[in-house]
């Protein structure tokens, strides 16, 4: 396995990033998201800050005192063997664990300084700011258009049909799917190929104008070509969103992420810049994992 993060010709560290207004929940920001501002510094601004996060499923503890800072406008990868709690931690960020009756989360996770677990936070609003893409593409059994329009509709982001169409179009364009589906927007989303479905789901998430996009092994059900396409897309999207991706492939982590966190048995073993992690891991467990000795 090639562990050199720079082996692939994906341009590293775009100095030019797109700024989308911080209150990007507001619909118009989606259309106004043309590249315009130099914002290299924003890459290092901490977007998500987790402190002493523990998660229990019933009596079983799945995460132990996780502390991590996740930068905005960049890609952070979570790696680690199966069952080490990557998905669990990801689901804490948009409070998807609320939907599991047995799950209990302690500790603090804040986004832009406000605690997501605070009583005053409505998970419904939180999730409109933090989108999520799942392992298996899960388009709704509706048309392509209706899939993307779903979020804007339930959040009332568009005032008219024209505005809704504009949001759908710009989201599909950002997800790199527009050219392939422009002439069949009103056919079922479930009829697309796996890779297209996954990009449709990404477009669906983008349409709400989130600040953070969580991706849980988004490529593990896809073939290598579709995977490469999604990786390119992720690299484009990090100009506008804070992206957190769980991946089983260390090559993928090396290719798409700027920061990497290694989980093992429910603990965050170490995290740091992707380049450092792969060339110079501090912990022996990390070393063993990335050299393929276990996992």
């Amino acid at each position: 396995m090639n562990l050199n993060p720079f082996a692939l010709p994906l341009v590293q560290g775009h100095a030019m990033t797109t700024a989308s207004p911080d209150d990007s929940v507001a619909a118009p920001s989606i259309q106004a998201a043309a590249p315009q501002v130099y914002a290299a510094a924003s890459t290092n601004e901490i977007k998500i800050h987790a402190k002493d996060v523990n998660v229990f499923y019933g009596d079983k503890q799945a995460l132990f005192d996780v502390n991590i800072d996740i930068p905005g406008k960049s890609v952070t990868a979570f790696i680690g063997p199966s069952g080490c709690g990557k998905s669990t931690f990801l689901r804490c960020i948009n409070r998807m664990n609320d939907t599991i009756p047995t799950a209990k989360v302690t500790g603090v996770i804040d986004i832009d300084g406000s605690d997501v677990n605070a009583k005053s936070v409505d998970p419904v609003i939180l999730r409109s700011r933090v989108g999520m893409v799942f392992q298996k593409p899960n388009p709704f059994p509706k048309t392509i258009f209706e899939n993307v329009a779903y979020g804007p509709r339930i959040h009332g982001l568009a005032t008219g049909k024209a505005e809704l169409e504009a949001i759908v179009e710009s989201s599909l364009k950002k997800a790199g799917l527009w050219n392939e589906v422009a002439d069949r927007l009103h056919q079922p989303g479930t009829g697309l190929s796996g890779g297209q479905q996954q990009r449709l789901v990404i477009a669906r998430a983008i349409a709400v104008g989130p600040e953070v996009i969580l991706m849980d092994e988004p490529c593990s059900a896809l073939d290598p070509i579709a995977t490469a396409r999604i990786e390119e897309l992720i690299d484009e999207l990090r100009n506008q969103f804070c992206i957190v991706i769980v991946t089983h492939s260390m090559a993928q982590a090396a290719r798409v992420s700027q920061k990497t966190a290694f989980f093992h048995l429910g603990k965050l073993v170490e995290s740091g810049s992707t380049e450092d992690m792969f060339t110079n891991p501090r912990d022996t467990r990390t070393q063993d994992y990335i050299t393929g000795r276990f996992g």
Binding site: N94, M96, T99, P101, V124, I125, L126, R127, S128, G131, M132, F134, K136, N138, P139, F140, P141, K142, Y150, G151, I154, H155, T190, V201, R204, A205, V208
Partner: protein
């Protein structure tokens, strides 16, 4: 008794054959069972099948057809005195001979002189024939069992494909069962078609399907057999349809809402109580719902409507008031509502399964977009489950159409063409029941019309079920 005993013996013999076959297989393997083609049990089963199955089959055939054979043998020779009797009396003669031979009470006919002598001869002959048939069946079974075993046993060597043979037997058994099921169903359908065809020879199908007067009683009298419209089934189907609509108006929303509650909102303890309870309710016999309708709901509705009518009499709605005061216990509304109650568990249980089959990933996808629970249910889960729910509703409709007991007890017997739910109506199934209960001539158009109704109903419910199954199939494919 003797048959049971011999079956028991056969079972023991077969069991012994199993042990012997198994032991022989293990022995030929010489302590290394891996050289055997099949597991030792298969060798045993093979021997047991050959020892038991043919003999058992013969025993069963013997008990089923033995009596017929005995009759035929006894009647092969008819003495001249007997032949001089007319045919009916001859039959009585022979059945009396059989009865006396078997120690059962004969008919009250008295036999004298030559006839009595002939009877005595035949009684003795009957005893002989009975013994002959019985012991030859037993003997033949014994021979079959032994030879089956002796044939199978020597074949059991290490490379004998016992598993394939035994599986062949099992496959044959399974096929025979399914053929029996298909054949009996086919037989019923054919007899339905045949009798309907006879009915349609005296009543034109056009009159039957489109006639608006149903009055089979008139047709009893010879001069009115073909009286026009006496067999018009439209009022019956209209009544069936009316009651079905009322039932679905109750069952569809309540059943669906309870399914949504159960699958999406109820927590686990609640669900684990309500779900089995609903399934128990689905098993309540319809006759219970029937007397619930006739004795409780009917009088209740009547009292309610009568009281309501009393308040209206003399006012601007005097006519309506007068009518309501006259309302009787039996009405389409009572039958429909109770039938709806009966269908609630059915609809709810089916819909619950269908809603549960919507992949969790779709719900997760919706929640992750910031959708609330009710948005997720309304906009993602229900649309995804809709085809399946439609199919469940169609199945409920087909049950409502075929339901008999509740309607018989609560809706009345008069065939009226009306859409008034407070009126008495009757349904197809109720008419079939009234046509066929009691003493009837089985050739009159009145009786045969039951087959005409039955066939039409069968075609309707079959159509509904086929459509429902199609929808369910399509829906399954969507998530595979």
């Amino acid at each position: 008794m003797l048959t049971w005993l011999s079956l028991l013996f056969l079972a023991l013999f077969s069991g012994a054959a199993f042990m012997l076959g198994k032991r022989r297989a293990v022995k030929t393997a010489g302590g290394a069972p891996r050289v055997l083609h099949s597991l030792p049990g298969y060798y045993g089963s093979y021997a047991a099948l050959w020892a038991g199955a043919p003999a058992a089959l013969l025993l069963l055939l013997g008990t089923t057809f033995g009596g017929r054979v005995e009759d035929a043998m006894l009647q092969a020779q008819r003495p001249a005195v007997v032949q001089s009797l007319d045919v009916d009396r001859q039959d009585v003669f022979f059945s009396d001979a059989q009865a006396i031979a078997q120690g059962i009470a004969p008919s009250e006919v008295t036999y004298e002189g030559e006839l009595k002598a002939a009877l005595d001869v035949k009684v003795a002959e009957a005893r002989r024939i009975e013994n002959l048939v019985r012991f030859s069946v037993l003997g033949l079974s014994g021979v079959l069992a032994l030879s089956g075993f002796l044939l199978a046993f020597p074949r059991l060597s290490a490379d004998f494909r016992a598993r394939n043979r035994v599986e062949g037997w099992v496959g044959g058994l399974l096929m025979a069962s399914s053929i029996a099921a298909v054949l009996t169903t086919l037989g019923i359908v054919l007899s339905l078609v045949w009798e309907s065809w006879r009915f349609f020879q005296s009543i034109s199908p056009i009159d039957f399907l489109f006639g608006t007067v149903w009055n089979p009683q008139i047709a009893m009298r010879a001069d009115q057999v073909a009286a026009e419209g006496a067999f018009g089934a439209v009022p019956l189907f209209a009544g069936t349809f009316l009651i079905m609509l009322i039932a679905m108006a109750v069952a569809a929303p309540v059943g669906l809402y309870s399914a949504i509650y159960l699958s999406e909102y109820a927590n686990r303890p609640v669900r684990s109580v309500i779900k089995p309870l609903l399934e128990v309710l689905a098993g309540v016999p319809t006759v219970v719902y029937g007397f619930f309708a006739a004795l409780t709901v009917g009088p209740l509705f009547r009292a309610g409507f009568n009281a309501l009518g009393a308040t209206m009499v003399g006012g601007p709605l005097d006519g309506v008031g007068q009518y309501l005061m006259e309302v009787q216990n039996q009405m389409a509304l009572v039958a429909g509502v109770v039938m709806g109650i009966m269908l609630i568990p059915f609809v709810s249980s089916l819909s619950d399964d269908i809603i549960n089959a919507v992949p969790q990933s779709l719900r997760d996808g919706s929640y992750a977009m910031g959708a609330t629970k009710s948005e997720t249910v309304k906009k993602v889960v229900l649309p995804a489950a809709l085809p399946g729910i439609m199919a469940a509703m169609l199945l409920a409709v087909s049950r409502a159409v075929g339901e008999t007991m509740i309607v018989t007890m609560a809706a009345g017997l008069q065939a009226k063409l009306t859409v008034n739910p407070l009126d008495t109506v009757t349904t197809v199934t109720v008419q079939i029941v009234t046509l066929l209960t009691g003493d009837q001539e089985f050739d009159s158009p009145k009786t045969l019309s039951a087959f005409g109704l039955g066939l039409t109903l069968f075609v309707v419910t079959l159509g509904l079920n086929i459509i429902a199954l199609r929808i369910v199939q399509k829906y399954r494919e969507q998530y595979d």
